[in-house]
Amino acid sequence: MAAKTPPKLSVETFGDHQIITQPNPLRSAVRRVGDAQQDDAVARAEQALKQLSDQFDDWMTSECDRLAAAFVRVSTGGFDTATQDELFRAAHDIKGGAATFGYPLAAAAAESLCRIIEHAPSLTEVPLDLIKHHVDAIQAIVREHRKLGVTTTAAELSARLRGVADTYLAAVNQDRPEHLEIILSPSIAPAD
């Protein structure tokens, strides 16, 4: 798989930059196929993910436990580099993984918590209740996930937390335009 020889490079040199082109090193992995030969790798992967989903509830529970433990350390020992990092990583992992695990509203609440940790000028000045409400909400959303009608409540809870967090962050970042820009700007991530 890995090449044993260096690539053949074509280098065009201009005034202040070079454009370097190499023969597509991955071209042997590409096949042109007709519609009939089309192998639906995406469908196969989605099926594999579905089979894996039996474990998602356990994974989500363990991520929540990790977040709760990180919050306990913050609330008892205060913020330092280690406890802040631990809380952020726990929230960040829920933000990134919860939707895949079937808990998109927990991801939304975790994103709000991540924004507080990232953009508050001083975490020691953030009301601890604001953080606690986020942690409690994430746990509740996960715990009550299967109950009928919980989606609307969870959506309202996540939206309310995000609103409170954004209001707080906008207020404390008035003299930090680089943070304000991020807080107020929409996601520009490319869609599927």
Partner: protein, 181 residues
Amino acid sequence: MYSIDFNKLRFLISDDNAHMRRILRTLLHSFGAREVNEAEDGATALEMFIHYVPDILITDWAMPIFDGIELTQMIRQPNGSGNPFVPIILLTGHCDKRRVMTARDAGVTEFLAKPISAKALYQRILNIVVNPRPFIRTKIYFGPDRRRNTSNTYIGPERRNNGQAEIIQQPALLDKARAPR
């Protein structure tokens, strides 16, 4: 239509979250990949990158020791010990404009926002394999061409000064089909 022989591609996943690594590995194996290596932090990823010489690196942004951006910057060294041209997919929940531009300017090839989906991952890999972009080297940047499209309506600053083009042919050939394993 194009199809990818995933079993001809070698992947390296770098993510500190074991659940996310499991998801990625499951997706890649389902696509048909056989060689998928994993690292749980940036330092291990760099070691494995040099040792395993992956065809495609998929890395998280936030990781211990050094993050996905730092990892990308270390790999995108024209005279580094690994393959500086390796396609890098940055997997992240950071989707604001400043972060995306930071990733682009570090030399990331593709940006994949969480939550991850099979379709989105497949499309990023397809784009890398079928439509590789040339690399640009300037005094402050080495990485894939950040101009994916030409636009007649572009009104931003022109960062490239054109001059006399010179073609420099380098010896040797990378051909995965014929390369000994």
